[in-house]
């Protein structure tokens, strides 16, 4: 059972522990997240449309076709 006291102490620690993350250990994670995120955004949204790096087929384009339209990307 969670008492009211425990809840408020949890909230207090959530605030207290929100300390900044040092740059040295975070950099590899942040860089890879940034790169993978951008590549995935490009693959879902753009590739095999206006430009293509994954080949001349339009299989990927056609497969995510509806999502591309619905997410606001120019499709064809």
């Amino acid at each position: 059972m969670t008492s009211a006291g425990a809840v408020s102490s949890n909230q207090a620690t959530a605030k207290a522990q929100a300390t900044a993350v040092p740059a040295s250990e975070t950099l590899p994670w942040l860089l890879s997240a940034l790169v993978v995120g951008l590549v995935l955004y490009y693959v879902i949204g753009v590739d095999e449309g206006a430009v293509s790096v994954l080949g001349d087929t339009t299989v990927l384009h056609e497969f995510v076709h509806d999502a591309r339209h619905f997410l606001g990307f120019p499709c064809h």
Binding site: E25, A33, F63, A67, G72, F73, H76
Partner: protein
């Protein structure tokens, strides 16, 4: 908490947001997409009949279907929505990690603020200039220009948000936080308005002007014969409205779920770390 925890939670929250948006899109996007494709096919048939009547040879066969409509409308849109959810979750996690502990907001509030900023810059602002369009709306020949212009709007609004935050921090000392945020908002809106005014409308692209004369958008206008009588109607305004409204709502859902789930996951993790650390702290 280290960056690894944030990135993994970003992926998890992004995938959850993508799943929710997938279900939403099955109900609210697919009927509009089907209607748009039916319009496109009907118009294509009418144009071909016209061409044949004018003496051209009929086109050989229909368009080859690479991925069936059934797959596109179910699995395809699902992979797209979950994929974009994970992509945005990763980018979200990067921004969140850089801000965590550096601003006076508890994690779940900061997560919602970052998600709101992502929605505004990556989707909503570009949407005002170049709104999401169903199939049949948009000329094949302008895909290169349209993609470049759309991505320019996305990059521009991200840069403008950075500029707005910079200005807000600069004036905060003098004006206080509330007014500084308002000043930042004005900076963002003003810069975005200038970019939107400078960039061409899609109907103003050369290929479209040559074909249809200068227009604001690429939405198909009625097909007319020489006397001006309508042979095939223009694109249904209600279908276009419903599609765009659903697209906007889906992005609100996507970013909203991403921010809420991420914030909840981070706060739960912090509370758990605290309880497991407590006995050690007591002993030392």
């Amino acid at each position: 908490m280290e960056a690894r925890s944030f990135v993994l939670r970003g992926v998890l929250a992004g995938a959850a947001a993508g799943l929710v948006s997938w279900v939403f899109s099955l109900v609210f996007a697919e009927p509009q997409i089907e209607a748009a494709i039916a319009y496109e096919e009907g118009r294509g048939a009418a144009e071909e009949a016209l061409a044949v009547a004018a003496g051209s040879a009929p086109a050989a066969g229909g368009e080859e279907e690479i991925v069936s409509r059934g797959v596109q409308a179910t699995l395809g849109i699902g992979v797209g929505m979950v994929g974009i959810g994970i992509a945005l979750g990763l980018l979200f996690a990067v921004a969140y990690t850089l801000l965590h502990g550096r601003v006076a907001l508890r994690p779940r509030v900061l997560a919602l603020v970052v998600a709101g900023a992502g929605f505004l810059t990556i989707y909503a602002t570009p949407f005002l200039k170049y709104p999401a369009s169903p199939p049949a709306v948009g000329s094949d020949e302008t895909i290169g220009d349209r993609t470049a212009l759309y991505l320019l709007m996305v990059i521009g609004s991200l840069a403008f948000l950075a500029a707005a935050v910079f200005v807000a921090r600069l004036v905060r000392e003098h004006l206080g936080t509330w007014n500084a945020v308002l000043v930042g908002g004005v900076v963002y809106v003003a810069l975005s308005a200038v970019l939107m005014a400078v960039l061409p409308g899609l109907g103003e692209l050369t290929i479209n002007v040559v074909e249809n004369g200068p227009r604001v958008s690429e939405t198909p206008i009625p097909l007319r014969d020489a006397s001006g009588a309508i042979l095939y109607p223009g694109f249904d305004a209600d279908v276009l409205y419903d599609f765009r409204l659903a697209s906007f709502a889906a992005q609100m859902l996507l970013w909203g779920v991403l921010g809420l789930v991420f914030g909840a996951l981070v706060e739960r993790r912090m509370a758990r770390a605290e309880t497991s650390e407590r006995p050690v702290a007591a002993a030392s």
